[in-house]
């Protein structure tokens, strides 16, 4: 699957290639510099996709995986892009692991906590990120991948194992639920 990465990491790309080369030879300090430059990006993606409870662990998993795969980084893409793809795979893998357990808890119950159109609830106008975190899993994942990360519905469908029509309807659902937080 060829993924189109629309949002490139905007930190330290100038030194990434050299640090990646050093890290691939076992230079921990170089790898730590890479971590420092990219952890916010990876952790934010993990947090938005899986929730805060999983984000720390998955972020660590992603960087540990990156360490093992550094030998395969040829510098054809920016290191940030390479790392992002790798991290997204780790995140999707974790999502699949969590899927069965999470499906047991019907997402509809979460909807009860979200404001309905025409029912402004000022106390819920918390920051947008927190409101997003409270969306049902399916709606949140599509919103993150489409509106935050810039993927197309066809790509999202492949990543999440759904059809593009479901991706569209979940996106609309997420936006409808979130709009009250910005009213």
């Amino acid at each position: 699957m060829a993924l189109t990465i629309l949002r490139e990491p905007d930190v330290g790309q100038g030194t990434d290639a050299e640090d990646a080369r050093r890290a691939a030879t076992g230079d921990r300090e170089a790898f730590e510099r890479l971590y420092r430059r990219h952890v916010a990006r990876i952790h934010s993606l993990a947090r938005r996709m899986l929730g805060a409870e999983e984000a720390d662990e998955v972020t660590q998993d992603a960087f540990v995986r990156a360490w093992t795969k550094l030998g395969g980084f040829r510098g054809e893409a920016a290191f940030g892009t390479w790392l992002y793809r790798l991290a997204l795979n780790v995140i999707l893998g974790r999502r699949a692991e969590l899927g069965k357990a999470r499906r047991r808890f019907a997402a509809e119950t979460e909807l009860a906590d979200l404001p309905r159109p025409g029912e402004p609830r000022p106390e819920l106008r918390v920051d947008f990120a927190r409101a997003m975190a409270r969306l049902p899993d399916g709606a949140r994942e599509v919103l993150v991948l489409h509106d935050v990360e810039g993927y197309k519905h066809e790509e999202i469908a492949v990543m999440l194992g759904i059809n593009p029509g479901t991706s569209k309807s979940q996106l609309h659902r997420a936006r409808m639920l979130l709009r009250a937080h910005l009213a």
């Binding site: 030879t25 934010s44 662990e57 360490w67 093992t68 509106d147």
Partner: protein, 300 residues
């Protein structure tokens, strides 16, 4: 529901598609006609547009807690487990992800349990061979084989059979990757790291291939303290491991303990037996290594 509302709802559901440019030209024109006459849809469209804008404007933020030490610990742990130096290239270090590690840990412990069983079997076999073919020399001195806690080499601190006091390898401990005593940050680590072969100056009865009981007792005590520290730590932290992992861990430790007991029993009858010394050293080293891995996992 009247026809006007039906039309309204139909378009409401398409507003996101409209925003994303997913409508064909005819649908787009029809929706724009509707928007011109439907204020609620126009308001809703603005709200959805605001959501899209807010999502795109989200900024990345770092984790609230520092994650690097955990990552680095996992790299080190895997490097040690793989027997690679800490600065080894990533592939050589054999690092596995935490998720993989969970699976692998659940998978590896039974393997270790099997290894423990193998040790028991080996021990029994050796005991049978030894007791069946040899008569144990009478001695009150207890020989010991003390393994390096990190297991950097095979039976890194085995009994110095055949060496005299002057060539009892004082450099062995220094050559070990274990940090010098007292320099390790964690008390338990320091305690474990302090486990080393019997004092290099301890007299060794070269012909008998075992060291004096005094040095042996001290080395034994150090080993026992290290094991006790790790077991205490593991008891406190085991709640962070999965129950099946804890169960497998207990079984493995029990198997290894049996192997150690068997080896010690056999050595009581045949103190000079090199095979038994090596076997005991390996069993003890294995126990320490398993405990260290388990506690590191629980704390990571």
């Amino acid at each position: 529901m009247d026809a006007v509302n039906e039309t309204h709802d139909r378009w409401t559901d398409r507003l996101s598609d409209y925003l994303d440019g997913e409508l064909d030209a005819a649908e787009r024109a029809a929706l724009e006609t509707h928007l011109a006459s439907c204020r609620s849809c126009a308001v809703l469209l603005d709200e959805l547009r605001a959501v899209v804008g807010a999502a795109a404007a989200l900024e990345d933020t770092p984790p609230e807690r520092e994650l690097w030490p955990g990552i680095e610990a996992r790299l080190s742990l895997a490097a040690q487990a793989a027997g690679a130096p800490l600065s080894a290239a990533p592939e050589a270090a054999g690092v596995i992800s935490l998720a993989q590690r969970r699976r692998r840990f659940a998978f590896t412990l039974p393997q270790l349990a099997a290894a423990g069983v193998a040790l028991v079997a080996l021990s029994s076999t050796v005991v049978w061979l030894v007791t069946g073919r040899m008569s144990a020399p009478a001695t009150s001195e207890r020989p010991v084989a003390v393994g390096s806690p990190t297991g950097s080499g095979p039976a890194a601190a085995r009994l110095d059979a055949g060496r005299t006091g002057s060539d009892a390898r004082p450099g062995d401990a220094a050559a070990s990757p274990i940090p010098p005593r007292g320099q390790s940050p964690a008390p338990t680590e320091a305690r474990v790291a302090s486990v080393e072969p019997p004092p290099t100056g301890a007299p060794v009865r070269s012909g008998a291939r075992f060291v004096r009981a005094e040095g042996v007792r001290e080395a034994d005590a150090q080993y026992d303290r290290a094991v006790a520290d790790l077991q205490g730590l593991l008891r406190r932290e085991q709640g962070r491991l999965r129950p099946e992992t804890v169960q497998a861990l207990r079984k493995s430790l029990a198997d290894i303990d049996r192997a150690i007991a068997d080896a010690r029993g056999a050595l009581a009858r045949d103190p000079a037996n090199m095979y038994l010394n090596d076997h005991l050293a390996e069993s003890m080293r294995m126990k320490l290594q398993l405990l260290r891995q388990a506690t590191a996992l629980a704390q990571s």
